[in-house]
Symmetry: C2
Subunit: 141 residues, 2 copies
């Protein structure tokens, strides 16, 4: 089980926007600071925009910015926007009733895991990440 590059790159992009909170950041600047392909990153940011996490200014001097303060955006929101909900089994996501008995025995487990992951993701905001980062930077001085 792992997250895809969508989640990894997208979260890094969101982190950059959090760092630049207050003014829009151009795609190419995000891409170059993270060494990612612009066109791919663009699609990820589009997902974040659709989810209402990011807003854009078009045209010259435009760019991407967060719609809310970093403290109001959880990692969970970012990742769901990029990868969809993390329903772990089909049976859970579809809401389809299990006809198979022992499938149902495993169902509870998946729900338990799913909750644990969601809780972990919800407990961290972009602001927390900024704080972590500045602490770490300070230590290296």
């Amino acid at each position: 089980m792992k997250f895809t590059t969508k989640a990894r790159y997208g979260l890094r992009a969101a982190f950059v926007l959090a760092q630049n909170w207050g003014s829009p950041t151009a795609l190419k600047d995000i891409a170059s600071s993270q060494q990612l392909a612009e066109k791919y990153l663009e699609q990820l940011l589009t997902s974040l925009k659709k989810a209402g996490i990011v807003e854009t200014v078009r045209g010259s001097q435009g760019g991407y910015s967060l719609t809310k303060r970093p403290s109001e955006i959880t990692v969970n929101q970012v990742i769901i926007a990029l990868e969809g909900d993390l329903a772990i089994t089909d049976c859970q996501r579809d809401g389809v009733a299990c006809t198979e008995e022992s499938t149902c025995a495993t169902k509870k487990i998946w729900a338990r895991i799913s909750n644990a992951v969601t809780e972990a993701l919800q407990s961290v905001t972009l602001q927390d990440m900024l704080d972590d980062y500045s602490d770490a930077s300070a230590q290296n001085k």
Copy 2:
């Protein structure tokens, strides 16, 4: 983020072995009770065997059985055997040092999530699943 069918099918197979604890169960019986392709399931069971979770008896009247009591086998063990460790980011798995600053800012988050998932998986044994299942069955009576 989701688990693959390997994890889902494999856990269901392990659950069946837990139900039949004490005597080996033939592949075809597991496959038919779970409606899975025999040849595919065979490969999953081979993974479980390599991990020491399952042992086999070859030849006529043979089959697969758990090497330990259901209470001694965690869901985590089963899933790791099937999908490998669930290190969530490459950077974590490879142990490669991050040269990119903001990557490191996200690193902590991934570790946190990874721990949450592992804890959730470790907290459930096959015996717990059996108990859940018999409780649920009792309720339907």
